[in-house]
Symmetry: C2
Subunit: 194 residues, 2 copies
């Protein structure tokens, strides 16, 4: 039980540890990262980390939870907005790609290191992931002429979820450009009718 009543400075230190962990977990993976490396990246010894956190898995859970919150908040706002179904799809795609681009390391940890979680934490994250898929499902179902919404949702989410593997902030396209290009292709098709 660490940091019961977090001070301002204590919280900042914990954020710093989370950030360093996200970087290391995304680069090498959760199990390949040692507490000693996390300590080194934050300027202290491994043992000292336990004044700020409960354990290694606590770090992973914190990163994943934070990322899930970002995705959920942004897309929930889109779902609740007043706009056409196509416009909502466009906004949701923008939101997703922006969250990914805003913190690629956290996105990578969210999308595939979460599986290293165990017990309650794993169950909790699974719930958050399902909730996120549910939001996209609602948006896609609103599209006019959606004959197979489940397949459509899978296709749309595939495009969104895969971005963390290839998007580079120093590349030629902004997050919004990527999102808009994908949305156009998804709506109009590769045949380019429309």
């Amino acid at each position: 039980m660490a940091v019961r009543a977090p001070t301002v400075a204590g919280q900042a230190r914990r954020d710093q540890i989370l950030e360093a962990s996200a970087r290391l977990f995304s680069e090498r993976g959760y199990h390949a990262t040692s507490m000693r490396e996390i300590g080194e990246a934050t300027g202290m010894l491994a043992g000292s980390l336990y004044a700020h956190i409960d354990g290694k898995e606590d770090l992973l859970f914190g990163i994943v939870q934070r990322a899930a919150g970002a995705f959920l908040d942004r897309v929930k706002a889109v779902r609740d907005s007043e706009a056409s179904a196509e416009e909502k799809l466009r906004r949701a795609m923008r939101a997703h790609v922006e969250v990914v681009a805003g913190d690629l390391e956290a996105a990578r940890v969210f999308h595939h290191e979460w599986r290293a979680l165990t017990g309650r934490r794993r169950t909790e994250v699974r719930k958050l992931r399902r909730r996120y898929e549910g939001l996209w499902d609602e948006i896609v179902r609103e599209l006019p002429g959606a004959t197979d919404p489940k397949a459509a949702r899978l296709l749309v989410l595939s495009a969104a979820n895969w971005t963390y593997t290839w998007y580079r902030p120093d590349g030629p396209m902004s997050p919004q450009q990527v999102a808009d290009r994908f949305t156009d292709l998804l709506l109009e098709g590769l045949r380019g009718g429309g």
Copy 2:
């Protein structure tokens, strides 16, 4: 240096070890799997594995190489086939989803445990992955009216590559049905024109 001139039985044993490793690596991840667990899954002690393999990373490399070969062979055949561009896209998507469905565990290891590889092996796998993307690029570029082939290829490959995360062989759709649905949606768009 193990198995220089593999006997028939020796090769079968090595295959068995690879299969067990693929299952464990896909479930828990490469670094979270111990040689003792792999030994247990193949009915021997950890030390005895080294009569068949050179090291733990050797196992990961073997699994990834084999999976890469399956994807490459199948899609290369599609690219070289005589068919319209749209038909090639359909066949490539079928091939990919069939390979994924045919060995979900290997597909998972291929898609994301490969990052645990180091040095030459990592470089080699990167090369194979790029070659695979190149094949898809060729297929997508043949599509009539392909205004932005790079975005189109990314979208198509996102749909294909994400399947390993959600496809279940005991689910309602066959690999071919999944592939065809995706191909239809990709070509015609969510607006359902056509």
